[in-house]
Every structure is written in structure tokens, then in C-alpha cells.
Symmetry: D3
Subunit: 239 residues, 6 copies
């Protein structure tokens, strides 16, 4: 059962991973960015959803013939079918993109099932086709070899590392063109609220900077006038 | 003399490096993907051709003044002029993109000579211009410094390593948006046949998945019904 | 006060970083390319300007609360406001893109102030928005975490390393789709002149290669006929 | 309950990880060496025991105050107390030695409890003291920061990756001055037998090579005479 | 003028970098360990002293002929002569050990001048001779090429990064067989006091563990009895 | 036939790789150090000999069953038997120590045959035994897996890269506790002479520094008095 409130999801869709990182930083959380991953299509809308995880370990040759997928209980296949709609499927590939974490067919299945997105700290095969799906996806780089070459799926929905960030099932995952950030579940609502506020102010600042104002006194608004200006601007913009 | 049958070349143009990797994996070949290389233009058609190789070693300063290219027998220049039409020019740059493996003029010459493509596990200079050529090209990242800065061309058409994969002259090289794979020469025909078959099945599966079917029982087709469906689908599609 | 002559700036806008690297190589300078950085938007015109630098060291947690930016004298903020119009802002991020070197608002401020471009050997946050600005920008990869997470701004306009290249304030920085090169200040005029000459010749060569000529004897022009042809071609083209 | 036969343990104590790797290679197992780890004291006897594992994920700051160890059920502490005598404690530190995997007190506790050894693909703190214990230990390099800085213990005795090798609980771990190898549990007996045989032959070969014989025909013994010589040598040596 | 109290220096000589890291961790400082450096001689006593720094940038060939050392004001030479007795000479080599940071003669000069030790996040040449000096030294690995090959000394006694840790002039540097840690100057006294206390307790714990006690309840001492035992033990030992 | 004069060999045995690197640097050669390799036994005398090379490429599984060594013409085995006495056996392992470059039996055979030493930019198996041989050996780190796991021997005595340095057959290889340097064959005599001279001066300087002299004016000897002192010192020492 999802614990992510629809309003929180909606708010997070309107803010950037950069803003969220700053809000987390203020709370002492410095390692929540999944390092080194990029969107397959940087033009997709922001991805938001609760983490559903898959853990890979290095593949042992005798345990990974191509026939393992005949087993309907294989953790990779099972994970794909069990991931809840609205969740983000997050794969711990030990930062190893030398073999694929998944390919087009599995990612398409996730999309059809209503999953909100997919992230791996490895790589996807059929990357061009995955990029053309509606569902957002993030990886390190394309990687054609079958996952069995390097990765053995071992666990579903346990705490994992992904791109040197900790990911617990249920954490709220947000991804945009800068990459993917992990919000601890219990902070999602307050981070969403704060990030929306910060975004409003940053939009005001960006407008002033484009108008030619110095950042000194404005960003952050140590100059009292800017606080007044901002209050008026909010009113005018209805934000 | 090319040993690559025209039909095999044509078949390989219709399949993906991902599918080829799986076919190689079934034969115990796990390291045939050239790691870390990407197409300069991901929209080009699939590259297919037999490997013609160039081997670089680290450059020694006294042996690599800019005047070395006055020698018509310089291995890099000679390699460019000797690479057969229809082949793929594969460069062992020791995975070092700190200096260029080649630039626009040499790559253009290869295209004019009818070469099928070029791959380096280093980088190209003039990368934007090379990307605009018709001939497909693959590298790690752009790199402006002249190759003499780091690389000394030493051998033409010997076995090499490229992106941690073994490449023997005459191996069949296939490149698409996921990267570049090396098919041992003696396996090219059977891999091409098998990959075409696999692609047909994967197209069927993708269609079913888009229609909302679970992957369980379908991919792989452990459910007997799917085998019947697939037989009918092939008939209907004439594949 | 800028020492970069307007004509030199104009010439450098018409040549490539690859050509400049070769001209530097002829003078024994092999490490002037800033390694691993790419343009955020590869379609921007060539960036040219004198280096104005910012040096980061690793962040110490107690010195980097979010409130440090309340200080108008903070080196990062000060650097942004002090960088001269026409200069290129170059950041030494110790090749660490795990946190941002800067974000959209600061980069926009540089653009509004007439700065010619920005380079970091780390990463920018809000990378998609920075890419859409008119001012060219170069980094390793996007990075959402606030710079305080990893980087503490410590010095403005001192000699730095950037992407394993030495950068002295006032060096002439040129960036295009292949990346960014550093021309020592005292060589800017002669490199610009030589690079323009080399570009003219390379354009001639490219034309000949497209017409089907071998590179042997042509590139470099050891065949006397080509020198004559080139002289005629220049005349015809008025170059 | 240990499934490792005492005779198998004894045999494995007399052979090298190099010989074991070759025996595994003959069975198609190429990735059983834990990469990059070294013994803290290269003079210790060979370590042999069944794997008991600990899994770390990246630490989240709010979950890892120094007070977590007040919890007697903390997985790291619990793992140390639960690891069976005769086993090898294997830690998945995600190849990250920037913070310690464990320190002197915990490793001493393992020794006192009769554990056969400890391996991490990270680093130990108090490395000099750990090296002086009787129990063999293996890591990447010393690392003083407390494990909480980077690592959160999350699971005990699950399958893990360690140094890019798969490790299942109960696999037989062997460590010597070359490093640490993982023998799948079901192969331990046959690998032990084969490795003892190989070692006998290699000792014979080494003796012949020191006497001045060429390796051709001897290693491997394609020369029939050497097979006879070896049979006589075994008889004489009683091996 | 040194601000490091003699008693603080003496206390720090009796504690480990591991213990200091834990004390820093309790204060929210997680990145004070200089990563990847090892002692040239692991048997030396603990190094303690205030940081005196040297900053290198990448070498530019035309600025670094062998004759630069004819200049008595060259920052590397000057730094060696200016470093105060009792200080630790810390070099920012940008984590690049491909050329030496210094060699035997300069390090000997530091020893003769009464300097307390030397650290680089690069490498030393003449490493075996430096290891035999009395003064402790720390680096990544030996490196024979002259520093001019890669490094240009540019600044003396400015804040630097070393092994991904921030180092400010005057910070207190402590090095032992686990490596080197940086204590912010203002914390030196309290960290020294706390580390001495922690060491006393850890010695007690180690003794108990060798006697066969479980770590549960003992480390940390959540079992009240252990606190009593420890009080008695301290009394008995006079610590 | 060796072209290395006995006197040159003898001189090189008395100087350090650090001194040789400086002599090469003066001639514009900056990349002759084999990066990242260490002696297996740092106490061995200096290794000197002409390079005899072996080139590995990445192993292809079907070409590397354990039975390949039944072929007496296998390049690795042949290289071992063909390497001339007095030469240094240098292996291009593509800087990959994940599998062994060679093991104890082959290295012993080289020693028995009178070879002067062995270097790989990968790793050796049976490293402890190899360290105990009389012949010096250098590698990156121990590595137990058979070379067939990753490396296929493909060529003997061709130009190679080793540790990012160019190595041509016949180049003079010198190794000591700092690592291994490559002297181009045609420079061996003059480098040997110059290095002996430099060593004499450095010994003088070291003595003066131990006596308490500043390095300013002494190293280099810009102070005229030191030149006189040195002349007297040489006379007194008979050097």
C-alpha cells in the first residue's frame, strides 16, 4: 500500500532534484543523490514514486544459464510483475554497467503495469527503445550484454545501495534531467512543501537576475527590500 | 578478401547488439561487447563489417614530432588507405581518450573509400563533424588533442583488445545505439540466423506486452499457448 | 583589464579546439586540454575568453552550513560578481562531480554580466536550464547536490588545475563541441594566426578528400602538386 | 551446522588460491576470486572456512549516530556474535574502503570465538593490531574512519558480492598471500582433491625447472617421459 | 608561531587515527581522513604536528624546465625551508602519483630542520631511503619521475585539499599505520582529551574481549556492570 | 644479440630510477616510467636488462581452454623459452591485474635461464614464492586466477605499452624500489653516464643536508662555493 500522498507526489513533480537536494542538505542528508545516472530521455517529465527495489549480486556462471528465466519465480521476473503501480523500480547493479540491468521488454512491462519509472546504477540494453517509452528511465550508459553475464537477481524489495546512495523500500524517488534523488519516506511531505516554497523563491530570483540584478543581497535575500519585493511578486503571481 | 556473406551482413543489419550478445552468451562468449563506447550519432543505421585493426601504443615524444605524417608508410595513414571497403576500422587506443584516435579528415577518407564504420576505445577529435558523416562511428568521448600526444600507431591488422574485448582481423563487428559487439568470424552466419529468429520472437513478445500480457510464461515462452500464438503471428506477419 | 585583442578573439571563434591543440603540440604543450568536460549544449558557437578562476577545496561540514551565502564576501558569490565581461569563468572542482559546482541562477548572472562562458571539471545543477542559456557552458556531467556538499570556495583568480590542465588567470580559454583548451596568454596571438592558417588548409583537404583523393601526399601536403592546388584554391576562395 | 568436511578443510589448507582458481576455471568458473584484497599479514597460514556474510549499504546520516551500537541487535554486532566457529566472516563493503568495515575489537572477538578468518572488500581500522592477531584477515587497505561514516550494516548471512565475486553463505573461502577465492559449497570436496593432485604435480615441475629443464613438454606434461618421471617421483616422495 | 599545546601534542601521540576519526564523527566531521595514503614505514611512532601546506597545479611544460630550481624563491624549495619545526608538511598533489611530490634530499632537509612529518596525496621518489629516515612520511605509492613532470608548485601555506580532505594551515595532522587524519585547529585540545579517554576504555574492552567476553553490553557499555568494572580497572591501572 | 654494453649495465645498476627519470626528463621524455608497478621484494638489487616483450589481448573463452598450453608454440610458453639471458621480460597486460600474467613456475624458468628480471602491468600468481626467487620481479598486485581467464598471449617481442609507457624490444629496463623505467636503446649509454654523475652529486648533497645545510644554493648548486666543495669532495672520495 502506497504511503505517498497524492498531493506530495504532485508537488514533487513540480520541483527539481537540485532543490530537493538542498532541502535534504539542510537536514544533514548529503548522500541521497544516486551518483552517475542520467535520464535515457532528458525531456521526460519529472519522475516521482516510492522505491521498489531489486538487488543484484555478481553472477556465478553455473547458476546463470539462459534457462533460468524459465523459472517464473526468478527474482528479476518476479520483481517486474510485483512492483506496484505508481512505484519506481530501483536496481542495485553495484555500479557495474558492463552488462544490462534490464531491456526493453521488461521496462515496457513495467510501463504497462503503471509503474512510475525505473533506475539502475548499471545500464540498460535496447536503450534507444526504452528512451522512446513514456515512462522515465535512468541509467549510467547503454549496455547490450544480457544481465546474466554479470548480474544475478537475488532479492526483491530490500534496502540497497544505488549509485552510492542508500535506498530503502518506500523511500520517495524523484528524477529529472539532473538525475535521481532519494527522499527518506518520513521526510517526503515536508521536503515537498519546502521545495515548492524554495522553487517559488528561485523563480523570483531567476526573474530578477535576468532583469540584471546582482545576486548579492538577493540570493539569499539578505537585503530586506528583496523580501518585500518577493512578497509582492508572490501576490501578483498568485503563488 | 571479405569472407562475410552478403546475406549475413544483411541479416545482421536488422538485429540489435543486445540480441547478438545473448546469442553469443548461449555459446559461452561473455566478453565480446566493446565496453564504454557510444555512437557519435545514435540515429545512424546499424553498422556491420569485418574488423580491420590499428594498434596504438603509448607515444614516445622523440618518435612523434608532427612531421611523422610526412611518411606515407606511417601505420595510421597506411591503415586508413588499406582498410578494405565494407570493413570496420577498429582502433586499440588502450581505453585512453585523453588524445584523439583520429579526426574528421581521416574518417571522411574512410567513408569515401566505402568503409562500413569506425570504432575506437579512445576518442575522436572534430567529433561533431564526424557525427554528421554518413558512415557510423563509435568512441568513448570527444578528444581534441592530436593522436601523437598519447598514441603511436604501431601495427595494422593484428589481433587487438578494444574496450576490453578481443578483436581479431576478420571478426564481424556490429554497432548500434547500445554500442559495438564483436562476433568471432566463424560464428557470423549462425549468429546472424539465430539473431533474426530471436528478433522475430522478441517483436512478438513486445507486441503482447504492449497489449498488457504478463511476461511470465511469455518471455521465455514456457506457456504452451504462447508458442501456438507465436506460430500464428509469424504466419500472419509472413516472418 | 583584458589583454586579449579583439582580432585574436575573433580569429579563435573561427577555429576548432582540435586545431589549436595541434598548434600547441608543435610548441611542446601537450596538456592544455581540460580533460573529460563536454558542452551542456553542443550546438553553441565557440566560446572564447580569458580565464577568471575559482578554486574549490573539499568542504568541511562545520564551515559550510547553508547560511554561508549570507556573507556577500563568500568567494563563490564574489567570484560571480567580479568576473569581467568577456572572460571565461573556470572552476577547479578537483574533477569531482558528486556535488554541483554552480547552478542556474549563478550561471544566468554571469551571462547577464556579459561573461563569455563557464567551465568546471565537476558538474552543474539545473543543467537543462543552463544548457538553454545563450552563454556556453562546459562540465563533466549534471550534479544536483548543492556545492556545499563537497566543495568550499576558497580563492578567486589564482592559478588552478582544471581537468588535469594548468589554468592561469588570463590564459585564453576556447571551447567547442570537442571540449575546452587552455592557450597560455603569451601565445594567444600566434596560435590564433596559425590556427586560422591551418583551418584554411584543412578545409581544402576536406574538400579534396570528399572528392575522392587519397590522404597520402595531401595530408600533410608532401606532394608538391597539392601545394600548388592549395595556392589556387585559396585565391579562388579569397582566404 | 558446518557442511565442510574436516578432511576437505585440511586439504585446502595445503594448496594455493592460484591452484584452486585453475581447478575452478576448468569448470567454467572465472569470477570466484575476490578482487583487490590482500592479507594484512602475508605470513599467516592459509585461511579456510565456510562463508558467513554481512551486507553493508551506504550509510544514511540520520540512521547512523554513534548510539546505534547501543542496540544489541545491530546487524554488525549481531553478525560478530553469531558467526560460527570455523567460518570465515565475509563483508560486502561495496568495494569502498573510505570508511572502516570493522576494527580491532570486533576482529579480536571473532578470533576468540574461534572464527577462521575475516574478509572485506573495504578496509579495516587498527590494521596493524589486526595484523598481529593469529586469525588471518584480508582487506583492500587500512581505513581509520568508523564504519558508520559510509556503511550501514543491513543483513546477516545473505548472498553478497565481495570484490566482484559472488559469495553465498556456506561457500568455502580460502585465503593466502595471493588473496581470497570462493569455492561454491557443492564443489569443495572435488576441488580440494583436484587441487592436492595439481599441487603435487606442480611441486614436481618446480623441482625439475630448478634443475634446469625447459617447461616445454613438462608443463603441461605432453612429453611422455615426464609422466613416467612424475610417477617415480611420487613414489619416492610418498605423495 | 605554533598554537598547538605541548600537552595536546603529547596526548595525540598516544592515540590512534581511528579513535580520532570517531571523535570527529561525533562532531559531524566525516571527511577528515586523507584518503588512500599509507606510511612509508608502518613502524614509525605516531606523527603529530600543525599543517604547513604546499599546493601543486598540473605542470605546463614551458614553465617547468629543470632549471626552475635555480630560483631560490621557487615555491617548493621555499616551502621546504620555511616549514616550521614541529609542523607537518602537507602537499596537495591532486591525488596524482604519476610523478613525485618530492624526493629524499628535500625530505631529509625537512627532518634536519625539525619538521614532524610529511604527507602527500601523490608519491615520493627515493621512497626506500625516505622510509629509512627518522621522520614519518605518508604517500600513495612510490613515484620516480621528477615532480616537474606533472606538478608545478604554486602556493605555500594556503588551504588545500589532500586525499579528498580539507586541510587548513594550522590544522593538527596525526598519522599512524592506518593513515593520516586532519583535526580542525580549534578542536585539537578537546579531541585530544576525548581520544585519550576513549583509548583508555578501548584498552579495557580489548582486554575483556581477549578474556572471552561478548561485545554485547560491553562495547558500548550498555551493561551497567561493565561501567563498574571499568571504573575499578582504571583505578587499578592508574589511568 | 645484446647491444647493451656491460659497462652500461654495470653503471645502471648503481643508480636509481628517480635519477634516470630526471636524465630522461632533460631530454624531453616524460612518460618512460611504467606506472603503478611495485617490486615483489623491495630489497632486491637493481634490475637492468634489455626489454624482451610479450603482448596479451583480452581472452576469448573458446580460444583459451586449459589445453592451449599443450601447444609448445603457445606465445606465452615460447616467449619464456626464447627470452635471452640478461634480458628483462616485459608483459603488456593492459593494466589488468584481475588475472595473473604468469606464475611461479614460469618465472623460475626465466631465472634459471639467466633472465635479468620480469615486469607486468598486471599481477603475478604465487607472488610470495616469486618474491623469494633471486631474480627481481615487478607487478601491480598479486592475482591468483590463471592468465587464461583474462589474457591471451598473442605476440612476442613487438613494441608494447606497459603501465602507460612505450616499450620497444631492446629498450633498457631498470627497476628498483621506486618501480621500473624504460630507457630508449639509443640513449642507454649517455643516460648511464649522466646518471652516475648525478648520483655522485646527489650523494654529496645528501651528506651536506644531513650536516644541516640549506638546500638553497646547494641543490641545485647555484652557490659557487658548493661547486668548489663538491670538487674537493669528489677528489677526497675518489669518485
Amino acid at each position: 500500500m502506497s504511503k505517498l500522498k497524492p498531493q506530495t507526489r504532485d508537488k514533487l513533480k513540480t520541483v527539481s532534484t537540485a532543490t530537493i537536494c538542498t532541502a535534504l542538505y539542510k537536514r544533514g542528508l548529503r548522500n541521497q543523490m544516486i551518483q552517475d545516472v542520467v535520464p535515457l530521455d532528458a525531456k521526460k517529465p519529472t519522475m516521482v514514486g516510492e522505491a521498489f527495489t531489486l538487488r543484484y549480486i555478481p553472477a556465478r556462471e553455473d547458476l546463470n544459464p539462459i534457462t533460468v528465466f524459465n523459472d517464473r519465480g526468478h527474482p528479476q521476473r518476479k520483481g517486474i510483475e510485483d512492483c506496484p503501480p505508481g512505484a519506481v523500480f530501483v536496481i542495485d547493479s553495484r555500479r557495474d554497467p558492463r552488462a544490462a540491468s534490464a531491456g526493453n521488454i521488461l521496462v515496457t512491462r513495467l510501463q504497462v503495469r503503471g509503474v512510475a519509472g525505473i533506475v539502475t546504477d548499471g545500464g540498460f540494453r535496447d536503450a534507444a527503445e526504452i528512451a522512446r517509452l513514456d515512462m522515465p528511465s535512468f541509467h549510467v550508459r547503454p549496455s547490450a550484454p544480457t544481465n546474466l553475464t554479470r548480474h544475478q537477481a537475488i532479492d526483491v524489495n530490500v534496502p540497497i545501495g544505488c549509485g552510492d546512495a542508500p535506498v530503502f523500500p518506500g523511500d520517495v524517488i524523484v528524477g529529472d534531467s539532473d538525475g535521481v534523488v532519494v527522499i527518506p519516506a518520513h521526510l517526503a511531505d515536508e521536503i515537498a512543501d519546502e521545495a515548492v516554497e524554495m522553487t517559488t523563491f528561485e523563480d523570483f530570483v531567476a526573474e530578477k537576475v535576468f532583469e540584471g540584478r546582482s545576486i548579492l543581497g538577493l540570493y539569499p535575500p539578505t537585503d530586506e527590500n528583496y523580501r518585500t519585493d518577493f512578497a509582492l511578486w508572490r501576490k501578483a503571481k498568485g503563488r
